[in-house]
Symmetry: C2
Subunit: 282 residues, 2 copies
């Protein structure tokens, strides 16, 4: 696996790939890799000839008081994991390489980012949209693979790519979970043993609300109340939001129908965890 740290280096390698007709899948990450990321790499290998992964802890998507400083970083371990999963190129730029000066360009999708995580992390998705647009323009992959755990992020990126006619396919891979249902996340590393047990409440709450939906419950408020009640029953957990919305537009309607996204953000101690599930409402 080739490790590159400069945009110029990526562009040069990318031109080589174009000359030889090699198709590329990009897996953008913030590092601190886990099995969820590696599943994206494996999916990328099915979709393209080479998988290029990026590791960049993007300051533009962290708010004041969030965990940018303490976000786990271990590039050596990440590189070994990516090589093991079959990635061909690792792009690991320094902050100054991606942001030699602050961006004057703001990329915003207000209709998709007013709710869910966007309501609690002002500016977060502007930071996400900006860095993803930059990485897609630097790497110019044929396909880019994102995880479904960050559903709102995936919805934002899908719409960004469509609206700007970016020449790339966006693939969203199902959330990879621990045996007890906890969604894999780099932030799980923050949890102590008791918190780790408590963190299963997200998946449990989603399963319970999904069962209610499968049983015919269509009222958004009722589905959100089921999510909230399950989280409330876990002493170490504190709900930030529980939502039932349209999976594509992320719009809330009084009554859900067809496909619905059930989504949660929960603090377990100081650690903010998110999870979601898409259900068919009969």
């Amino acid at each position: 696996m080739l490790t590159l740290t400069t945009i110029a280096g990526v562009r040069s390698r990318r031109e080589e790939a174009a000359r030889t007709g090699v198709r590329i899948a990009l897996v953008p990450t913030m590092g601190a890799l886990h099995d969820g990321h590696l599943a994206l790499v494996r999916r990328g290998r099915e979709l393209a000839d080479e998988v290029w992964a990026s590791v960049f802890v993007n300051p533009a998507q962290f708010g004041p008081g969030e965990d940018f400083e303490r976000y786990p970083r271990d590039l050596e371990r990440d590189a070994a994991l990516l090589a093991g999963a079959g990635a061909s190129v690792l792009f690991a730029p320094a902050t100054k390489e991606m942001f030699p000066r602050p961006s004057a360009t703001v990329v915003d999708l207000p209709a998709l980012t007013g709710g869910l995580c966007g309501a609690h992390r002002p500016g977060h998705f502007r930071g996400v949209a900006l860095i993803v647009a930059k990485l897609l323009n630097v790497v110019q992959p044929h396909v880019a693979v994102f995880g479904a755990k960050d559903w709102q992020q995936a919805a934002v990126i899908r719409r960004l790519v469509e609206d700007l006619d970016m020449p790339v396919r966006i693939e969203v891979h199902p959330t990879v979970r621990e045996d007890d249902g906890l969604a894999r996340s780099s932030r799980n590393a923050y949890l102590d043993a008791g918190q780790r047990r408590a963190a299963t409440v997200l998946h449990r709450a989603l399963q319970r609300a999904a069962a209610a939906a499968a049983g015919g419950e269509r009222r958004r408020a009722a589905l959100e109340a089921i999510l909230a009640a399950e989280v409330a029953a876990e002493p170490l957990a504190r709900l930030q939001y529980a939502a039932a919305v349209d999976p594509d537009t992320l719009e809330a309607r009084e009554s859900v129908s067809g496909r619905a996204l059930l989504a949660l953000a929960v603090f377990v101690g100081a650690t903010r965890l998110i999870d979601n599930i898409v259900v068919e409402v009969p």
Copy 2:
């Protein structure tokens, strides 16, 4: 010259060009072509193997009450002019092809668009940034050529491309003028004979302010007053703004130094005309 009306058609032709190593210059226009546009095409031919021009009157960059409806359209004439100037491909999509639904993505450069035309045309440069990003992503040219008459537009696009790491070079070509100094513009067609004579006031005002700058005048307010006084002396003209700013950041400072952009927007009758000049302040 090949005329294409669909994004899919452009992408397919673009893949062919990639296979054969053909380098492409894009000249994005709103049609109603004049010698200024054709100079961009000729410059494109110096910079690349093929020039692809687009003709699209972009609704997203017109405000309410502006001239979107009556903006001059004559695709047949435009196509003949482009072919004559040596363009290889004309991309002329319908509105629905570029905007099958309203864009949820907003691309904004607030620091560059608060002044000059941006102050008087709210949302205009968001529309420009959006359509240029889309066209660059559809055509994927090696270089794109813009005219210096729309200086703020060129500054916005240069910064957009830099901030988003878009893989394209932006070339800005000097303003092409009539013999009496009037900058070529599609909107000159709106002028009657008396207005056409009055319209030379823009160039005259810029020349006078440039002479003052060359003579050592550094005070922004004084340079702007010279521009305003010259326009005020023309009965058919009404000043919208006169500005002396940094040519790259478009920032106004009390005292100009180094390179300065002198820029004007003037109504002649109902027709809004703009012009500018870059001067070296000794």
